[in-house]
């Protein structure tokens, strides 16, 4: 258990290391998720307009 606590403490830099990784995950994950969701929505809309023929 101390191993985990030590790791989370990051040698006293926890307040800098974890926010850095959290910001990266939020910003890059957000861009990726938004791109994925819009891609999906545009595919569904196009299929609805075109009928069942393409993709």
């Amino acid at each position: 258990m101390t191993g985990l606590a030590d790791w989370l403490a990051m040698g006293g830099y926890a307040g800098f290391v974890w926010p850095a990784y959290a910001i990266a995950a939020a910003v890059l994950g957000g861009v990726a998720l938004y791109a994925w969701q819009r891609h999906r929505a545009s595919g569904i809309m196009l299929a609805r307009l075109q009928g069942p023929a393409e993709e």
């Binding site: 790791w7 990051m10 040698g11 006293g12 830099y13 800098f16 290391v17 926010p19 850095a20 990784y21 910001i23 990266a24 910003v27 890059l28 957000g30 861009v31 990726a32 791109a35 994925w36 819009r38 891609h39 545009s42 595919g43 809309m45 196009l46 307009l49 075109q50 993709e55």
Partner: protein, 256 residues
């Protein structure tokens, strides 16, 4: 290769087949990179555990520059050869590039505070990267500022090309001016000066970021092509003519 994928229909087929694989590989590489960066890599003898910020800061900086270079090259191709996918590629890359730049700035700030004692300093490296971030935002705003999409794309392409001058300034800012920022330790003459135990996770994270960028790029390009088709279908009840890069001219009936 450029001309082979000039046909949007062929691009849609190829990218559709590639997309799921790219997503899975990106996720796996990023997972390996994260475990290596946060668990396996040793702490630095001077900077302690804070050095782990490097594993996202440096790759995001590389991607911030690479994505801008990609936009500039695609813009040049769009202006010179009118390649139908070049403008779409440039515009699709911009938000991801801006995101990498933002991550680079934020993580740099979080690293600078414990190491330099300052969240931010107005030195050449930091300021030129901030300018890069505003170039991204300016490009995105300019492209969307025109009612006529082709004019927005043209203006954006020109801005992207002018902004290229910032890239060497960023890269060599640490050599040309006095700065708190450390000089390059990977991409330098004489080979990397960083130990393999840190270089390997750094390169894995860089590869992961690159794959993520590719995945987002393909998603956004496909979305743009889909939305173009949707607009055409709504206007005319049929897809735009082959090779049309913008909305086709108004139907004869609506002209005055």
């Amino acid at each position: 290769m450029l001309t082979r994928f000039a046909n949007p229909a062929r691009f849609m087929r190829a990218s559709g087949a590639l997309l799921p694989w790219l997503g899975v590989v990106a996720a796996v590489v990023l997972a390996i990179g994260l475990v290596w960066s946060l668990l396996l890599a040793p702490p630095d003898y001077q900077q302690g555990q804070s050095v782990r910020i490097m594993f996202i800061h440096v790759p995001s900086a590389w991607m911030a520059l690479s994505a801008y270079l990609f936009i500039a090259v695609a813009s040049a191709v769009a202006l010179v050869w009118r390649h139908p996918l070049a403008e779409i590629a440039a515009q699709a890359a911009a938000p991801a590039g801006a995101a990498f730049t933002l991550v680079c700035l934020a993580t740099g700030s979080l690293w600078g505070r414990p190491m330099w004692g300052a969240w931010w300093v107005w030195d050449a490296r930091l300021t030129s990267v901030l300018v890069l971030f505003f170039l991204y935002l300016g490009y995105i705003a300019l492209v969307n500022a025109f009612d006529d999409q082709s004019r927005g794309a043209r203006a954006g392409s020109l801005l992207a090309l002018v902004g290229v001058v910032n890239l060497p300034i960023i890269k060599f800012s640490v050599d040309w001016w006095n700065t708190l920022h450390q000089p390059a330790s990977v991409l330098r003459f004489g080979g990397p000066s960083i130990d393999a135990s840190m270089l390997i996770p750094l390169l894995i994270m860089a590869l992961g970021f690159m794959l993520l960028f590719g995945w987002v790029l393909l998603l956004r390009m496909r979305t743009a092509l889909n939305e173009r088709k949707i607009r055409a279908l709504r206007l005319y009840g049929q897809p735009a003519p082959r090779g049309a890069t913008v909305a086709a001219p108004l139907p004869a009936a609506s002209r005055t």
